[in-house]
Amino acid sequence: MRISYESITSYATPRRLAVSIKEMAEFQTTIEEEAKGPAEKIAKGINGEWTKAAIGFTRGQGKSTDDIFTKEVNGTSYIFVNKHIEGKPVEQLLPDFKAIVESIQFGKNMRWAHGTLRYARPIRWIVAMFGKEVIPFEIAGVQTGSKTFGHRFLGREISLNEPSEYEDSLAENFVVANSQERENMILKEIKELEEKHQFRIPVDEGLLNEVRNLVEYPSVFMGSFEDKFLELPSEVLITSMKEHQRYFPVLSADSELLPRFIGVRNGDMHKIDTVVRGNEKVLRARLSDAEFFFEEDQRQSIHFYQEKLQRVVFQEKLGTISDKVNRVMSITKHIADLLKLDETTTKTAVRAAEISKFDLMTNMVNEFTELQGVIGEKYAIHFGETPAVAQAIREHYLPKQANGDLPDSLTGAIVSIADKMDTIVGCISAGLTPTGSQDPYGLRRQATGILRIMKEREWELSLEEILTTVISLYQNVNMEQQSMTSTVELQEFFRQRAAFLLKELHVGQDVIQAVLHNEIGRFDYTVSKAELLSEKRNDQAFKPVQEALLRVLNLSEKANGKDIVNQEFFISETEKDLFDQYNQSKNDFYAYDQQKDSVKALECLATLAEPIHAFFDNNMVMADDDQIRNNRLALVNCLSVLIKDFADLKLVEWKQQF
């Protein structure tokens, strides 16, 4: 709009969104600009007169041909006119601010009364002022004015004389309009309580952010609950306080959970005792429920809960949770076998898989769904399971977020992968592939979790080995829409996740394509190769090697799958030398490849550089003689296969200086 100003400040509380603009100019900035017209050769006729094109252009700009001047642009002469755009009075333009208000997007909208506007919540008043004047417009039947409102209970209606009164007038009426200021007030009062009582009050950033947006005038208070509730798992207490009540838990100096909590009131300290008692009553009710659930749940048995799982559907096409558990047990056993684990560890993992979901049927998890796994671990111990099994039950849900903690234990990691693989393969086989905006089963996060675990664990196991097993498991399941294309879809789905993780590690897209051209393989090794190639891409010293290997890859396209090399058809020493070096390097390469030593593996390929250059410089690969030609192509093809087993180097954008 070409409206100059000194500064803009925004404000937000639960009841208002506001923006204050200081020193806004009363007029738009007037500008002079050059309007470019047609090329001069089109604008002027043979005799130098102005053509219709020139006349039309000047008329469109509100000028005449007398105003035309010419200028060269990129070697071509064009006609121009100077345009003077006078700034309009800003007062005339400000009603257009209505469009900005209406364009704000919220997560969810609603309609109200008889209106058609969809907004987060009903609009009750609008202040729009420029100096002392009201800017007139209307939204959803609400006219603009200069009246605002203070705190819902402690404040009053405020008539503003001018914008500069805004923040102070609200403050006088118990509204702290600035979000950061409210946050600072809360933190200051929490700190004071910490110092006064020698407590520790860890402030979760997410909770603080939420709480400061629940109040217009924060006042911090401390409440307490009965000691007996400390018998409950700390996770239950903390979840109840933080997630359900938006309280901050209180710890002792030794980090022991105390029977206290910190709440934030939307108001002043008047009758704060009543507020504290009310909050304590609500929390007591919640914790009493939790106590009841805890006791009731532990009267039953794991078997009791397992039976119930048979009547809970996991997904319409994939059967019950009990069906899922059976599949996860099979996958767990298979992974344990692939990893060549001992019998005890395998038994632990399979047992953990078997009872991994029993806690979903408990009252506690029904009430505190976010504690699935956590409660499973605690109840498993109570019911006599080993700590290793219990830990795996909790850990099989990890990671909970994209960059969240991974399972600490081996059995936890195995069951986690098994469970996630089952969900992913099942859903995609059933036609539930995530789209750009929809991923209701969190398949992308789960696939990322699998790859992260495999990278951290550095197993001698490729993703494809696990995937093949799980796919074969599903081929035995009677599903309506199962199709062969789902295997391809699954591979591509995991490939995209692998590419995503590599990108997070700042690997370039070309190197990602190069290392993932064939399969994901052992992901930790794939990452190591990607990082090495990223380094070599810019390494001048690597240039001769890269050139040699690329010569092979370029020519291998003509090989058409030939791979039988017959030494009898060698003519030159250089092709014999190359073949000898290939055989030696190949053995070393696959040995290092097996050990996941990407540096040594690439060095083996590098030993081929000189013989390759000598081969190409001294031999015509596409010889006239069929036998010699096919033999040389077969040699090239064998080399190509070796190189591509590391990465498809043709896809790398080599950046060394030439």
């Binding site: 709009m1 639960p14 208002r16 603009i21 020193e23 997560g107 008043w125």
Partner: protein, 34 residues
């Protein structure tokens, strides 16, 4: 000549999770518009 301007939208209580993003949108859209 210059003057201060003020725009405030008064609403029923907004869900806490909407507020930060809405404030940011209002600020950015106003700045872009000016």
């Amino acid at each position: 000549m210059a003057k201060d301007a003020l725009f405030e939208i008064g609403l029923e209580e907004l869900p806490a999770r909407f507020i930060d993003d809405a404030e940011k949108q209002l600020l950015n859209k106003t700045a872009d518009w000016l």
